[in-house]
């Protein structure tokens, strides 16, 4: 079956927008993806007909909202092939999930002199929570290096593993470079030394099928808004045994079994980690996004995006003076580039005047910018609804702006 690109584009109403009188070419998907009508409708339907707080009332609407909310958890369990819905913790996003692990698993298991390993291509969200933990505990953050193509140096990574290593936390797919890390190998090496592995899947999850049991990762985190769902919701997947042993994160309603002024006992999984009223509509919207993605298939999306990336890369390489930042062999649909002395912010403004949305900046990965000795890059990132025709618009725009800058 051919990829139903026309149908998919029709499913995303925002793609009909005109930006500065030109058709929108949305290539900032690594920052956040647009939402299909099915997700928008799910939220409108909830607030119009079914909304109340979850896990509380005996009244009809609370039961309905709870059912939809828990159905989203079930869908997510299947989507990432978790063993149990107890392993799906709804959080605010990938950042929140990493902070949760740092503040619970990290505080309980990482002590003075222990080591945590990350990589040179992490997003700030997989650097700063560990720095904060290390500072508090007197632990040490180790950074596995990469080569100029943006590929992790595996021998160097392996050499960092030792008896003091208590956690490996690596990005599955880099947001600044597009690199897809050899996570199976990373997990194998770490597990051989009984070291748990957290994967930051914020970028990988919208682009590739993820099976947490096949990967055998201990934690997998991502945000909903990059997966065609609303902001304010994300997922922490954790192996049940690990989650059960972890102390709670925040205290409050929903995460308790009993409360007296002397002592409280905590709810079981997953509610132990979901204090307070959750993002109800957003979680239900995330469930709708999964339903939508399932109608197309993540494997088909991955194959289609690989074609887009190959085409964009081929055309970009024809442009004199364009340098691609991130040329890993294994790469997701991200094209980060520089144009010599033309600053990415100027590129961003100029392309915006043509209706093209890209990201210009450090992509919350300042150490990556330092590594390549650039203050910023321009980044076009593709999603399931982009087309080769849109890439042509981008390439023509880049050629013209180079000419204008002279």
């Amino acid at each position: 079956m051919t990829y139903p690109i026309e149908k998919i584009r029709a499913d995303f109403p925002i793609l009909n927008e005109k930006i500065r009188n030109k058709p929108l070419v949305y290539l900032d998907n690594a920052a956040s993806c647009q939402k299909p009508q099915a997700v928008i409708d799910s939220i409108v339907k909830l607030y119009s007909h079914d909304y109340a707080n979850v896990h509380r009332g005996v009244h009809t609407l609370s039961v309905r909202s709870t059912d939809y909310f828990e159905a989203a958890r079930e869908k997510m369990k299947t989507f990432i092939s978790a063993q149990s819905e107890k392993e799906i913790i709804f959080v605010r996003g990938a950042t929140d999930a990493i902070n949760l692990v740092a503040q619970t698993y990290g505080k309980a298991n990482i002590h003075a002199g222990d080591e945590i390993i990350i990589t040179a291509m992490e997003h700030h969200s997989n650097i700063v929570p560990w720095q904060m933990l290390c500072e508090e505990k007197g632990a040490i953050l180790k950074v596995a290096p990469m080569n100029l193509a943006g590929e992790l140096l595996m021998p160097e990574f392996e050499a960092l593993l030792n008896s003091k290593t208590k956690l490996v936390s690596v990005v599955h797919m880099s947001n600044a470079l597009g690199t897809i890390n050899p996570v199976e190998k990373i997990i194998e090496l770490a597990h051989a030394r009984k070291i748990p592995v957290l994967l930051d899947g914020a970028q990988a999850i919208p682009h590739t099928p993820v099976d947490v049991q096949a990967l055998d990762c201990d934690f997998y985190v991502f945000s909903g808004h990059k997966l065609y769902a609303p902001t304010g919701v994300g997922v922490l997947y954790g192996k049940q045994s690990l989650l059960e042993a972890m102390p709670p994160y925040q205290g409050g309603g929903d995460m308790i079994r009993t409360v007296t002024f002397e002592k409280s006992t905590y709810a079981g999984l997953p509610h132990k980690f979901e204090a307070g009223t959750p993002s109800i509509a957003e979680v239900i919207g995330l469930g709708a996004a999964i339903d939508y993605l399932n109608t197309i298939g993540m494997d088909k999306i991955a194959a289609y995006e690989a074609e887009l990336l190959a085409y964009a890369t081929q055309e970009a390489l024809k442009i004199d003076g364009l340098k691609i930042i991130g040329e890993a062999k294994e790469k997701g649909a991200i094209l980060s580039f520089t144009l010599g002395k033309i600053h990415p912010h100027d590129i961003g403004t100029m392309l915006d005047s043509l209706g093209i949305a890209i990201r210009a900046g450090h992509h919350c990965a300042m150490p990556v910018m330092d590594f390549y000795k650039v203050p910023a890059t321009a980044r076009a990132s593709f999603a399931m609804y982009n087309t080769k025709a849109e890439i042509d618009v981008l390439i023509l725009g880049i050629k013209n702006l180079i000419e204008m800058f002279g």
């Binding site: 600053h343 990415p344 912010h345 403004t349 100029m350 900046g361 203050p375 910023a376 204008m404 002279g406």
Partner: protein, 150 residues
């Protein structure tokens, strides 16, 4: 292709971006302040030489987008020979021009800087134009070694 951008990217801006004026490290400066825009990574170091309250020399180093480079280049030209009070007054006028608070641009007051008025139509780029002036303000007040637009 970029007709809509002509107000923002005027030829003077390209000229100052290609050939920034006063683009060098200053020996024996009286003030040096680093200005940083963490949003886009623009980074400048501004040097001033003062004679009492008179700015006798200004230069800069750093890297940034065309708007920020042109802005700091133009600024170093225009503030030379001005008193601190005159420079601060110009900053105020410039700020009002770029943030669009004053609909009528006082061309007499801003002179060459009028080429940067176009940023007011591009809110995301205003900080590129004002970074230079915030850095100058910090240098004149002599309060800190580095400033950030965030």
């Amino acid at each position: 292709m970029f007709e809509d951008l002509r107000d923002l990217y005027q030829e003077v801006i390209f000229d100052h971006n290609r050939n920034p004026r006063n683009f060098h490290v200053m020996e024996n400066y009286d003030r040096m302040v680093e200005g940083f825009n963490p949003l886009c990574g623009d980074r400048i170091t501004l040097f001033l030489k003062l004679d009492d309250d008179l700015i006798t020399d200004a230069s800069f180093q750093g890297s940034g987008c065309a708007i920020s480079t042109a802005s700091v280049s133009l600024m170093t030209e225009i503030v030379k020979g001005k008193t601190e009070a005159e420079a601060e007054a110009l900053f105020k006028t410039f700020h009002e021009m770029t943030t669009g608070k004053d609909e009528n641009i006082n061309f007499e007051a801003v002179g060459k800087l009028a080429v940067l008025a176009g940023v007011r139509e591009y809110p995301a780029r205003v900080k590129c134009a004002t970074l230079a002036w915030h850095t100058l303000d910090a240098a004149l007040k002599n309060e800190q070694q580095s400033i950030s637009t965030e």
